[in-house]
């Protein structure tokens, strides 16, 4: 049985809902750097809670990348501890594409089943438009680039920490 990758990066979103495809775009950028690294698992999911839990099982560091709409400037990105998702609710922020319940429930389910990774972070890229159609807005495209650079540095650092 192969060992679980040390780091898992999960992108959530729908490329046919414009900026909801931000997570997938970040993942593509990470693929160029970590695509052949067996210590890193890059996976695109729809946000369904069980799939999330099963995708991160065994990894010590997990990043979830999704588009968000929190009222902050378009194209900015923010990182939070995924176990603090309830705080996002209090501030009115929402993960784009209707995935928040899936992720929140995934954290709760993983807690009950003792499958919560030691480090579970969410990277949200502030989306400008979630209408039907393809292609990121210009602001989100720039946000994806910055978020990908940030995440490449974070994943590289995590790999140095055995």
């Amino acid at each position: 049985m192969t060992a679980a990758p040390q780091v898992t990066v999960i992108a959530i979103g729908n490329p046919y809902r414009r900026d909801d495809g931000a997570g997938g775009a970040v993942l593509t950028a990470l693929g160029a750097r970590f695509g052949d690294d067996e210590r890193v698992r890059l996976v695109e999911l729809d946000g369904e809670s069980v799939r999330l839990v099963q995708a991160w099982e065994g990894s010590t560091t997990v990043w979830i990348v999704d588009a968000v709409r929190s009222g902050r400037p378009f194209g900015s990105f923010h990182e939070i501890d995924a176990t603090c998702l309830a705080d996002l609710d209090d501030t009115g922020a929402r993960l784009g594409g209707g995935h928040l319940l899936g992720l929140g429930e995934a954290v709760e389910l993983a807690t009950v089943l003792e499958l919560l990774p030691p480090r579970l972070r969410v990277l949200g890229v502030e989306g400008e438009t979630f209408e039907n159609g393809e292609g990121l807005s210009e602001s989100t495209r720039r946000g994806v680039e910055s978020a990908a650079n940030f995440l490449i540095a974070e994943v590289s650092a995590a790999l140095l920490d055995p």
Binding site: L45, D46, V50, E105, L113
Partner: protein
């Protein structure tokens, strides 16, 4: 008690544990049920318009994005319809791989619905998380089986979510023998788990209820198989038609309270698709262990209690494991990964049985193989009128319950149909108004 029933309106503002977003309003006046409306308020998805002008190769991948839970269903129905336009028939070996891929999706979808969406209703829990806290072993067993469903989709479809290996005419690549042997080992264990799950579900307390008399059940039918990839459409009223004849018998209409279309029979009346309809019309096509369990649980084609759909889902999961195991054990790599497809101008229809029921597609292509028009009828929009009528029937016999109990019962009843509002548009939220 009577005065309490004079003015009564209740609802679920946002129905949970269904795929998508929607709501339910129930109005009761002087103890009499006045109205039940399933409200769908997610903006409609314009996938059909989105497909126009696209190359004939694209709907298979684009429609898979309509739903994260049943992308394979969209891919298969799209393939069948586009292959009908192009007058192509896939080889038996490729069809078997499609059957296997679809079994993976059925396992995933049914197991998720049983454990985290519906079982909490029967066992008195607020949600799947609370259920998992008290029934950890059962939930872990279910999640292991769901993971096997994911694995099947990944091996055949290229990845577990929104598979990328399916094309008109077949696949881009076919699995290795080694990968299939690994699946066989997992499936033998998975089948045992599926049987245990079915026996567990069969012990759930079942509300005593029957769907309204005259409800027409509709399902695909195949000469020898349980109809995941069925060929004809049959009904409890004797209908027996091809995919091309679908619009001669069924239609969709707009209703004010929903952004999803409502399915109707042109001959008049509602109809129901999904696991219970499939079982009623195809019980004789179940794989041996699944058929044996149905007999053990006393389920027959006369069954009309929609709450027992959770048992049918568990039996269908056993069936999917048995079929998948048979395909995997007999696997040798197909002679070719796909049959050649030459696009041609024309129209064609195709269908398959998504976990939630019949999914029909129709495409029209031009000479260059571009989509001129697309028409998709998902299971949830077909079921919405029947769900409303079944709820009305249930509520009429349950008005003695207080609002909280009635709301809980209604939510449980809606989940009998496992509505996928992502497909029909999206769903759920409830209000009861007593006046």
């Amino acid at each position: 008690m009577t005065h309490e029933h004079r003015a009564r309106r209740f609802g679920v503002e946002a129905l949970t544990r269904v795929e998508g977003e929607g709501g339910l309003i129930v109005e009761v006046h002087e103890g009499e049920l006045v109205d039940v409306r399933l409200r769908i308020f997610e903006p409609p998805r314009f996938f059909e318009g989105f497909l126009v002008g696209r190359d004939y190769t694209e709907p298979v991948d684009i429609t898979a994005r309509i739903c994260g839970i049943c992308p394979v269903a969209y891919q298969m129905s799209a393939c069948h319809a586009l292959e009908a336009v192009c007058e192509v028939e896939v080889d038996d070996a490729l069809r078997a791989l499609r059957h296997l891929l679809y079994c993976g999706e059925w396992i995933e979808s049914h197991v998720l619905h049983i454990h985290l969406l519906h079982a909490p209703d029967f066992l008195g829990y607020a949600n799947g998380i609370a259920l998992a806290a008290d029934h950890r072993a059962e939930v872990e067993r279910g999640l292991r089986l769901k993971k096997l469903g994911n694995r099947i989709v990944e091996v055949v479809g290229g990845r577990a979510v929104h598979p990328v290996n399916v094309k008109v005419g077949g696949f881009y690549s076919t699995p290795s023998v080694a990968a299939m042997q690994d699946l066989a080992d997992e499936l033998r264990q998975g089948l045992e788990a599926a049987v245990d799950i079915a026996r567990w579900v069969s012990t759930f307390p079942m509300p005593d209820h029957e769907m309204p008399e005259g409800t027409v059940l509709v399902s695909l039918r195949h000469p020898t198989e349980y109809p995941i990839l069925g060929e004809r459409l049959v009904s409890t009223t004797g209908l027996d038609i091809s995919a091309d004849e679908y619009l001669d018998h069924f239609t969709e209409e707009h209703v004010e309270h929903s952004t999803a279309l409502h399915g109707r029979m042109l001959a008049g009346g509602d109809y129901l698709v999904g696991p219970l309809a499939r079982f009623v019309l195809n019980a004789d096509r179940l794989a041996p262990q699944a058929a044996s369990l149905a007999a053990e649980f006393g389920l027959t084609p006369a069954e009309r209690n929609p709450f027992k759909s959770i048992i049918v889902r568990a039996i269908e999961t056993v069936h999917a494991c048995e079929v998948a195991l048979g395909i995997v054990e007999g696997y040798s790599p197909p002679a070719r990964t796909a049959v050649p497809v030459t696009p041609r101008a024309g129209a064609g229809c195709g269908w398959s049985e998504a976990p939630r029921g019949l999914l029909w597609h129709r495409y029209e292509l031009d000479d260059a193989g571009r989509v001129v028009s697309a028409h998709i009828v998902p299971p949830t929009s077909q079921n919405q009128p029947s769900i409303e009528h079944d709820l009305a029937h249930l509520i009429e016999h349950s008005l003695h319950l207080d609002d909280a109990a009635l709301e809980a019962l209604c939510e449980q009843a809606v989940r009998n149909y496992d509505p996928c509002i992502s497909c029909a548009t999206h769903f759920l939220d409830m209000r009861v108004v007593r006046s």
